[in-house]
Assembly symmetry: C2
Homo-oligomer: 319 residues x 2
Amino acid sequence: MTLILALDFGGTKLAAALVNVGSRKWLRYERRLSPVGANASTDLEIMRSLIYSLLEDAKPAAIGVSFGGPVDASTGTVRLSHHVAGWENIPLKGLLEEEFGVSVGVDNDANVAALGEHRFGAGQGYDSLFYITVSTGVGGGWILNGQPWRGAGGMAGEIGHIVVDPSGPVCLCGKRGCVERLASGPYMAQNVREILENEPQRRGGFRDGEILRGLAGDDLTLLTGQLVSEAAAAGDDLAKEVLHKAAWALGVGIGNVANLMNPQRFVLGGGVTKAGEDFWRVVRQVARETALPEVDFEIVPAVLGDDAPLWGGVAIASM
Amino acid sequence: MTLILALDFGGTKLAAALVNVGSRKWLRYERRLSPVGANASTDLEIMRSLIYSLLEDAKPAAIGVSFGGPVDASTGTVRLSHHVAGWENIPLKGLLEEEFGVSVGVDNDANVAALGEHRFGAGQGYDSLFYITVSTGVGGGWILNGQPWRGAGGMAGEIGHIVVDPSGPVCLCGKRGCVERLASGPYMAQNVREILENEPQRRGGFRDGEILRGLAGDDLTLLTGQLVSEAAAAGDDLAKEVLHKAAWALGVGIGNVANLMNPQRFVLGGGVTKAGEDFWRVVRQVARETALPEVDFEIVPAVLGDDAPLWGGVAIASM
């Protein structure tokens, strides 16, 4: 019995899972929220307790790790986390190899999730794919010739920060109209909030923001991307407009990527992609219109959900 | 003495060259303009005469071919030419192999030029690069892991048709604000022509269109991308504005590609890139602003000029 241990250091949650080589079902699985005020040390401590609880007395043959932030995959060193303090230059691979005495592979979550979907999910049998996660951020991971493509400095896949509307709103990165600025959950919530605050005349109609306000309990700071999706599904025109713009941005981004790299498949995961048929219809239509007619591709939903980074960890550990 | 024969079927010109394996200098070289009203048959006849004139009685060990249009590189079949009639589904590799009895490789000009610059030019020693030609069209070719990346259907590299300004002018492809629509030579000429025709008040100033009109001999239909560059260099504000917009479009495109693929180098060739220091400064600055701060890259001029496809042909023949 050969065991693989997969770890997922997300921005807000920690997960670990154990699987028998060749199996498609977790043997054991643990998930924990990162506490408020977490730092690298507390996250590492929690993860260690998850690991020992999973392993009992067993020893894994290898460990594969997904990290929610930039990683130097060649050395397995975390560069930093945008969500949790203290991760600067932590040699995560080295720490785990020393403690558990087995080989460890570490990469960033988008690359690892891409590998997970490629090996165990919506990308099985496809040599070239681009995995895109649309969630609190927008990121991506490449599989080309059946292998991860990380870029010369490990920075490939940043579809969230390609510009699709140079006259659009300003993104945290400083540019205008990035895909992430229009399509991430928090930015969708911000967009409806700004319209409701700045265009009070739009607050009147039942179908134009009222459903949104109802869902947020009149406290606009409570709006989330998910509430925007729910309001759109319930017929709120303002929510539909903002969600449509998100789908448009993603569609332009995907069409541009198709022209540039011509992969077989785009695999889309993350909370925002659960927004329903209308969202998917716009993404697919705009991507098709943006790509040249000779460029073929499919856009399909990810199938591994929140477990994609863990399954990618299994793939990394088996490489 | 092992001879390699390289052929370049451009849209308006035909070229052939012969080289000793390992040499960086052509042994013999022939170039001919494609006649007005050329079709696939006449181009093939002219190329045959060039080849026999080059070869004299020698026999090459292999032949590498650059074709100015979509090619199925796996079979060496031309899909079509956008410039010359009759090239639909011509099995160019098969025809040449039958006639010359040696192995032949065929690919489209952007991919072949990328390979040429990688093996013999500005991309030597770089594992990942994107070659961009900015000329009558805007196209690109990838080298990743030291090998061409052609895409699942051979369509990768179409940076000319990624959208950088969704409210920009309409491109032949049907979309608005493609890189090619703003940065190709003919479209730059069209852009100044339209401004001169539609904004007659701009015709007054010496520095605002007058230099352009002088260069075109008052016949605006004679304007070219090169004349726009010359007028900009001579201080014509209108020409500078249009050239600046072209450089901006190219810079946004390059920055987006850097975020997405993180290659080491961008190698830029084609007539428009000879527009001078101002053009290059804007391209580099906008690309740097568009890419995330963590994404490193260089933008350098191609060094093989019009011979890049021929040197790429040598590389293909040696693969």
